[in-house]
């Protein structure tokens, strides 16, 4: 006897509704025929009879919703009707009815099975390969079904029915012999012998300057991982090596033995910056790290200044090595008292020291690097005297004959990159000073004088200042004063 129970159509299905009984009680049914349709939250499915017999009982009416596992009815032979009623619910269900149902919505059998159809007459179900073999061998599937009593015929059933010895062509891949299991041998590496390291372990070992073989010996493994390298480093404090720098692999990849073929650029020379360049390195580092360097620029009409310079050069001759820088230093020395925070030093976070004396440093390019010798008391010197002093300091810087005093005590700096051709140049502050003035190239440009466009000689002055202690207005005011002095150059001679 078959007890019809509501199957679990899926893990989320908990109950189902009987949609339609296809048989009345007492009506005969053949194995494989649908008996009823039920609906779950997913779809409508059918329950089929497992055996030939009659529908003994409908336990659940159409439209009723019941939990999974509920008995829906029973199928059995006529003589089981009474016996079955006694044992209802105690007999285990043999064979789950089609549990997955037809969730995709494939059409349920369009024509309902005829209750009285003869099971022997219905075409048996068979798998495609069973059909193919049956066709090849001229075997009737119905005959196989009748012979074996099976309603769903497989290839084995057909073969069992026609045990022809010829069927040994062995196209059954599932019985192919398993290959012998591969034995993995460690690959011997010429660099490390039998020791293998993970990529990250190699990076760490390389950064510590440790050979992988040493890690392997120490930790007793031939498969070195990062943790082994770490353990080795911890146990070998006598030889710590450099700390791994940065994130590691991307930087270290060039020194990795396994990738040593990467072409690095050839080195011409290397070493620490020394002498004047060492001083520059330190001071510029200080400025870069600590100063709030800001630059403001003025455009100065130096037509008259150049004209005056030419006249005086001719008049004074070689006796005086006249330089434009001298005029600028003169203008600077005159302007600084009014803007004295530019003539100052930041001696510490808490202290800004403003100087009364005006000692102007002159940046001088030499073979050994940039030197900044000092013109003491620049405000007390005439253009002529300044020119002589600048010449002395410049040649002394080139010849290396300046003494110690010449190289210190500056309170402000002027740097002339204009004679090197710089259109705009912003020199960096010479710490602990608070400002530096840059002179730039003199260029012929159209200018406007009395409403007329005429050729003029123009020069940029750039003032870079430490904005922590110098206001922008102060810097601009200073530049304006210097500019007006240079644009009326005779005033600088008095």
């Amino acid at each position: 006897m078959q007890t019809l129970t509501l199957p679990k159509g899926g893990k989320t299905m908990e109950e189902g509704t009987v949609v339609e009984w296809l048989l009345e009680e007492g009506e005969p049914v053949s194995a494989g025929e649908p008996v009823l349709y039920f609906e779950s939250d997913k779809a409508t499915s059918e329950i089929t009879a497992d055996e030939d017999g009659v529908l003994l009982e409908r336990s659940v009416a159409e439209g009723e919703t019941v939990p999974v596992g509920t008995e829906l009815g029973r199928i059995g032979s006529d003589d089981e009707a009474i016996e079955g009623a006694d044992t209802a619910g105690t007999e285990p269900t043999d064979g789950e009815p089609d549990p997955a149902g037809k969730p995709e919505g494939e059409p349920d059998p369009g024509s309902k099975p005829k209750p009285n159809s003869d099971p022997a007459g219905a075409a048996p179900r068979a798998t495609p390969s069973a059909r193919r073999i049956a066709r090849e061998r001229g075997v009737s599937l119905s005959a196989v079904a009748a012979e074996t009593g099976v309603r769903q015929i497989t290839r084995d059933d057909v073969e069992a029915y026609t045990p022809v010895g010829a069927d040994t062509n062995g196209d059954d891949v599932t019985t192919a012999a398993e290959p012998d299991e591969l034995t993995v041998e460690p690959v011997s590496n010429p660099e490390y012998g039998d020791v293998l390291g993970s990529p990250w372990a190699r990076v760490l070992a390389a950064n510590h300057g440790i050979p992988l073989s040493a890690v392997a010996d120490e930790t007793g493994t031939d498969r070195v991982r990062a943790s082994d390298v770490a353990a080795y480093v911890e146990n070998e404090p006598r030889e710590p090596g450099p700390e791994p720098t940065g994130p590691g692999p991307d930087a270290a990849v060039g020194t990795e033995p396994v990738t040593g073929s990467i072409d690095e650029p050839a080195i011409a020379r290397e070493g620490p910056p020394t002498g004047a360049r060492g001083v520059m390195f330190d001071r510029m580092s200080t400025v870069a790290n600590e100063y709030a360097s800001t630059t403001t620029v003025a455009r100065v009409d130096v037509t008259d200044l150049v004209s005056l310079y030419d006249q005086l050069s001719a008049a004074w001759g070689e006796d005086v090595p006249l330089s434009l820088t001298a005029f600028v230093v003169r203008a600077v020395a005159r302007s600084l008292p009014e803007h004295d925070v530019l003539n100052a030093e930041v001696t510490s976070e808490e202290n800004v020291r403003v100087y009364e004396d005006i000692n102007v440093g002159i940046a001088a390019d030499t073979d050994e690097g940039l030197l900044v010798p000092t013109i003491y008391d620049a405000d007390d010197r005439t253009v002529r005297a300044l020119s002589r002093e600048i010449d002395r300091l410049a040649s002394g810087a080139r010849d290396g004959t300046l003494d110690h005093d010449d190289m210190q005590n500056g309170t402000f700096t002027v740097s002339n990159a204009g004679n090197l051709g710089a259109y705009i140049n912003t020199p960096q502050i010479n710490p602990p000073q608070t400002a530096v003035l840059g002179m730039c190239a003199i260029v012929d440009e159209p200018g406007v004088v009395d409403g007329e466009v005429v050729p003029r000689k123009m020069m940029h002055l750039t003032l870079t200042y430490d904005h922590r202690v110098v206001e922008g207005a102060t810097a601009v005011g200073f530049l304006r004063t210097v500019k007006s002095l240079l644009e009326s150059p005779e005033s600088l001679l008095s």
């Binding site: 969730p103 995709e104 990076v203 590691g248 692999p249 270290a252």
Partner: protein, 325 residues
């Protein structure tokens, strides 16, 4: 914030977008009157009418072709393919039409359509109704593939997918419709093409996709008891993949485990592994581990299906392998 299931989140996302933009409409097999095989679209036809939420015949080819055409006219169709397995049928329309229009015309022509579909095993639907189709489409430039893991992400990513101007395949895991989680009450979207770190850790990176994110999270909880601190990354949008967070994580943990439900061989995990091998090989301290299904169709028998699906034990074993334990 309120607690909602994945099913509710998707339903709300669809309702909000139907409400917000009259160009949006929804169709597919049984999405209207029946409310969807999984009741995801329940009530939408009643609310928005048969013009905008309607049933179609069983023809995925037609669904794909009409969606591409409708999107080209300026609407924003949302199509439901009942099972991801049938993505094979709509694949021609997606691969050769939806994905190609933008490149074919070069004039900004877009195909703003969304193909929603269910995927995954575990419900005893057998070999024709349980597959994970990511691998079938990951090699097709021009489409986005989204596989969310939480109710929050399902909602936000679906809304973003509908608003996106590219064709989007939106994957819904069958077993996760009942999962509950916190979802914001107000309007929000989750950006496409952004992965999310679902769990912070130092020892190993676990990249998990779709329904496997929960599996990875549970594995991570159990590993924590063993003193293993696992980081879990959920790409959310599988294609195009947001790779950098994965690289960054591997550079930190030096170990990588990838978890997805589809077969390991030829699966998306191989792509992630290859990307990491290219970008972060020298940060790896162990071979990359992939956790996925065996290379066989999804079995029907319950015990075989259970064995087939990746679970927490598989993830834990893979993590232990990367740790050399």
């Amino acid at each position: 914030m309120s607690e909602h299931t994945v099913r509710e989140s998707i339903n709300r996302a669809l309702a909000e977008e139907l409400e917000r933009d009259e160009r949006v409409f929804l169709y597919g097999e049984d999405v209207g009157d029946y409310g969807g095989l999984y009741q995801v679209t329940d009530g939408l036809q009643d609310r928005f009418g048969e013009e905008r939420v309607f049933d179609t015949p069983l023809s995925e080819t037609t669904l794909g072709g009409t969606a591409v055409g409708a999107a080209l006219t300026g609407t924003r169709p949302v199509v439901e393919i009942m099972f991801g397995d049938f993505m094979a049928i709509i694949a021609d329309q997606i691969t050769n039409f939806a994905a190609k229009m933008y490149f074919n015309y070069g004039d900004g022509t877009g195909v703003p359509m969304v193909v929603r579909t269910t995927y995954g095993a575990g419900d005893q639907f057998g070999l024709h109704h349980s597959q994970s189709p990511i691998g079938w489409f990951q090699n097709v430039p021009g489409i986005k593939i989204v596989a969310p893991s939480t109710p929050h992400d399902y909602k936000g990513l679906l809304k973003a997918s509908i608003r996106d101007d590219d064709p989007v395949i939106f994957l819904e895991n069958k077993l996760r419709y009942e999962d509950e989680g916190e979802v914001p009450d107000g309007e929000y979207t989750v950006p496409l093409c952004r992965s999310e770190r679902k769990r912070k850790g130092e020892d190993v990176t676990v990249v998990a996709i779709g329904g496997m994110v929960d599996v990875a999270m549970e594995a991570a909880e159990r590993l924590e008891a063993d003193g293993v601190d696992a980081e879990v990354i959920d790409p959310r949008t599988v294609v195009p993949l947001d790779k950098e967070p994965i690289f960054d994580s591997v550079r930190k943990t030096h170990r990588l485990v990838i978890v997805h439900e589809a077969a390991t061989f030829g699966g998306f995990g191989g792509e992630i592994a290859a990307e990491v091998a290219e970008e972060a090989l020298f940060y790896l301290d162990a071979p990359i581990e992939r956790v996925g299904a065996p290379f066989t169709p999804v079995p029907f028998a319950e015990n075989l299906e259970e064995a087939y699906l990746p679970d927490e034990e598989d993830v834990i074993e893979a993590v232990q392998n990367t740790l050399g334990r």
